[in-house]
Symmetry: none
Subunit: 222 residues, 4 copies
């Protein structure tokens, strides 16, 4: 969850709660029309009819402010337990997608770019944008494994990464968000696999590697 920075102690004049709200609203309004890096704190302050220091007192900088603003729009629904794994996953994908449909992708991308330089921001971003959807779909995967629909040795984290990365990638970088059809395709790919006969490929690879690349595929199953 990304929210405004707390005061140091309990003492002192309390913050005017209307200012924080007005700032978040102004931020969202401005983000609707201007590209992320044209979003000036000064402009936000002007529109929210307050001052720059009042904003800096609440958030350390633009990225944190924007994250807090879009956090008010992100709401991850719990995917239902329909008893049908494929349907559940479909819904789960939807959970990821929904999280990104309300926010302009380039904003996420730019935010994301700033995460590299600010660990604090990175963890807030993860906690706000990434984790909720991840956790919701994670529970769906647990059920699927329990139901015996997924192989037990499935690396659930990896699977979540693949799904999350795809959605994020498309949302942030693609021409358009992932469609339902593409999502279904991805689910199929991830569940069925692309190989005609994976075990045969593995066997072949091991034979080849015996000859030329003995040290690779360290984590390959046997």
């Amino acid at each position: 969850m990304a929210t405004e920075r707390a005061s140091t102690t309990a003492g002192g004049r309390p913050r005017d709660p209307r200012i924080g709200d007005a700032v978040l609203t102004a931020t969202l309004e401005l983000l609707e029309t201007s590209p992320y890096d044209a979003l000036a704190i000064e402009e936000v302050a002007r529109r929210a009819e307050t001052s720059r220091p009042a904003i800096y007192r609440r958030w350390p900088g633009r990225a944190h402010l924007v994250l807090a603003a879009i956090a008010t729009r992100l709401a991850v629904p719990e995917p239902p337990d329909t008893g049908c794994t494929l349907c559940d996953l479909d819904e789960g994908f939807g959970v990821f997608l929904e999280a990104y449909r309300t926010i302009r992708p380039e904003i996420l991308t730019a935010l994301y770019a700033e995460c590299a330089a600010d660990p604090e921001l990175r963890s807030r971003y993860a906690a706000t944008v990434v984790d909720p959807a991840r956790a919701a779909v994670g529970r769906t995967l647990e059920r699927a494994v329990a139901r015996g629909d997924l192989r037990e040795e499935t690396d659930r984290d990896l699977l979540l990464d693949l799904v999350g990365a795809l959605v994020h990638h498309r949302a942030a970088f693609g021409e358009h968000h992932l469609t339902g059809a593409e999502a279904a395709g991805a689910i199929e790919m991830l569940l069925r696999g692309a190989a005609v006969d994976y075990d045969a490929l593995l066997a072949h690879s091991e034979k080849v590697e015996h000859i030329g690349h003995p040290a690779s595929h360290p984590g390959a199953p046997h």
Copy 2:
């Protein structure tokens, strides 16, 4: 390919070729230490011992300049045809990884973020950064299909997206780059699939949907 903007006409004083080179070098040097959006054209000009207009004459702005600078470092090797699909894919993954290892991921992310507002930049970015790696791995996939190792109906674009997104995601957002082991795990997941019996899941889901959710799974295969 991203290079500097050409002169308007042929006449007049010729450009000093050393300036363009010095600027690109200075840009790369500065990018090694400062985060992307702290890269000031002014600073580049200072370090290259030239002036800002000389830079603006060659590139329309910071993003184009940075793209041109990193383009000099990006070189996507053609993944070899070993005859072993798994090995090829391994190498292909490495191609993606390599593309991100020479350039700080956040730079790519930030660059791409700016693409949203500038179609010209977007196509240069695609041509310079995305397409070569994608095409190289794409060719590997073609061979795999031709060899009969992948199902023919495999959506190669989707597969590429899944791979690329994962690598990019981990590079830009993860604690560390994807390791070889993780890459191998992902390859396995993508080739073998997570489902115990995908066709059974599909059949079940269609039965369920017949009853409750007739309109979903529009693109589901049958």
Copy 3:
């Protein structure tokens, strides 16, 4: 006399007397190194290890605070009655000079500049800084007149202004404070006059004015 503002009523928590002292001390210390208008109340509070409101409770603003602070340093000695008018005046000059030797002149100047906007401050300033020295020298002049050394019609206020202005001017604007020799020269000039024969000049001027400028010299003696 400039001192701290009194409490509204008698009831309530008593003021901590150490705070007022510490603030005045801190103010004087800071004035030793920083120019007047770089003196921040905030800084004073920091150095006195208290808070800004505690200062504002005692003085209405910076100027009043500074006046109170320097008032603790200003002490005007009564010039002695030596029986020798010239010697007395010499001492009197010294009284003016002394007032400026303990306080950096620019502080007085800046303080006075603020008086323009604050009548309360102005009267405090007069009572604290100006009047004591003026009164002391004024008494010396009275004695000189009584003794018959100065002409009775001498405008004592004007004479005091001339002396005070010269000292102030040199202290605040000159390269160095007035020296004793310069002071003696000024005394001579003021007592003896610069004219060879003032009455002749006056007669001449009246003749001229009769012809050309009848209305001027309204206050000229006859």
Copy 4:
């Protein structure tokens, strides 16, 4: 003369002359209503419809700006040579007075206060405000000496300081500017002297000092 700071070299885009003028005008307008230290560069920029950096490019700070602004209002006419020393001095005093009548005294005072911390400002202030009037009256004194109306050994600098200090003091610190009558009184005081018999005072003082204060009056004339 106080004017705007010159560009470093001849190269580069030339300054828009209208900006400098507009800024000076805006400064003078604002000084008409607001006290000196409430004059915000920001406000000047707003009123002149330009930006703060454009002002800082021309003047190093508020004091220099204000000095330049009031310099446009200060014009010292050459006092005429009427052949009558007293009349000339009267006019000369008028020159001083006039120079200060157009400017609010508190502004001069405040400016003057800032001179203490800035030698560059101090010399500009002297050159702009003090010297012209001083030089004009200085020439009048020269003529008076040449005419034999003033004693030859008169310390002209001291006399000018006395006059200038008085006018400046009254202009800057007094309730009102010096009036013509007061000026005439001052002229009389300075020319005729306040003493009934200065030489007698001197003789007396020397006798006293022989006994009690041998080291004082170091520069006393003999």
